[in-house]
Symmetry: C2
Subunit: 176 residues, 2 copies
């Protein structure tokens, strides 16, 4: 966050000085553009989605979607860490909090819509639980770990089965 200045972007992109400022006049605009670009680079490959989409909806299919999310996020550690840095920076920047909030809420709504359209088990509540758990797993994998020494794929499988797959959750919620 310290090194990310308009000038540094110009230098890195080898464009004339003033270009980044021209496109993104404020620091909030620059950081918002970074958030949007990170989400673009997390976007799934259409061919992989098409192949997954041919399978009947099931808990196993959900596990494979989650593994694919893990592959894109943990596999691009700098992007994932940058998004965490942006979320923390937004605490001190109300402008960034507004724009990044729109991006993250849009991402969650899209996830819920995709999930429902695909006929996968679980609803908006389960997807929020999975979001939290995956974010915490990524924090553990990509920063300092609590050292449980688990296989991330096994964790993802357990999260899907336990957070979504149980029959009687006994926690006062009704699964959709």
């Amino acid at each position: 966050m310290r090194g990310l200045t308009h000038r540094a972007v110009d230098l890195e992109a080898r464009v004339p000085q003033g270009t980044a400022s021209n496109y993104f006049p404020t620091r909030d605009a620059l950081l918002t553009a970074l958030g949007e670009r990170i989400m673009e680079r997390f976007a799934p490959d259409e061919a992989v989605l098409a192949e997954l989409g041919r399978r009947p909806p099931s808990l196993d299919l959900l596990v494979d979607y989650l593994r694919y999310i893990l592959q894109r996020t943990a596999g691009q550690p700098d992007l994932t860490r940058a998004l965490l840095e942006l979320r923390l920076e937004a605490v001190r920047r109300p402008g960034l909090a507004r724009t990044l909030g729109r991006i993250l809420r849009g991402g969650y709504r899209d996830d819920v819509a995709f999930h429902e359209a695909a006929g996968l088990p679980g609803g908006a509540f389960e997807i929020a639980l999975l979001h939290y758990a995956m974010d915490g797993l990524l924090l553990d994998l990509l920063t300092v770990s609590i050292g449980a020494g688990l296989n991330p794929d096994q964790v993802v499988t357990a999260l899907a089965h336990r957070l979504v797959g149980g029959r009687d959750q006994g926690d006062g919620t009704v699964r959709s």
Copy 2:
């Protein structure tokens, strides 16, 4: 992270300039001390622990322990955010990664030992899952949210019931 300098600590603590440098000679030492102090300030109240410890171990008791963790972490947002900042800063500081890693691994081991001694349901695997999910929930509550609009206590209850309480998890793991 930008503003946290030895000089700033001296000023804030109203001690002679050079005092913080004397106790914590390097920046890594200063940040490590911060991590240790954060963990100290997260420590539970002995009286509350004693009261919880009088109840027979059960999933309901686990829910109440988790709610108490949520109360201490979400209730001290600056501490929780500072720990997240430290974990990210450690990616760029191998010295801090080592010391903070020791602190976090120690915390996890203590959690597992406490859990087992208390006879609560679930083992080391379940505690790791809970850790990840709680960290992600805190990230959502204390930085920019995905906007699921859930009641944190309901989330914690669902996490305990689903991650620990299910009978046949069907995910290839054996619950202790």
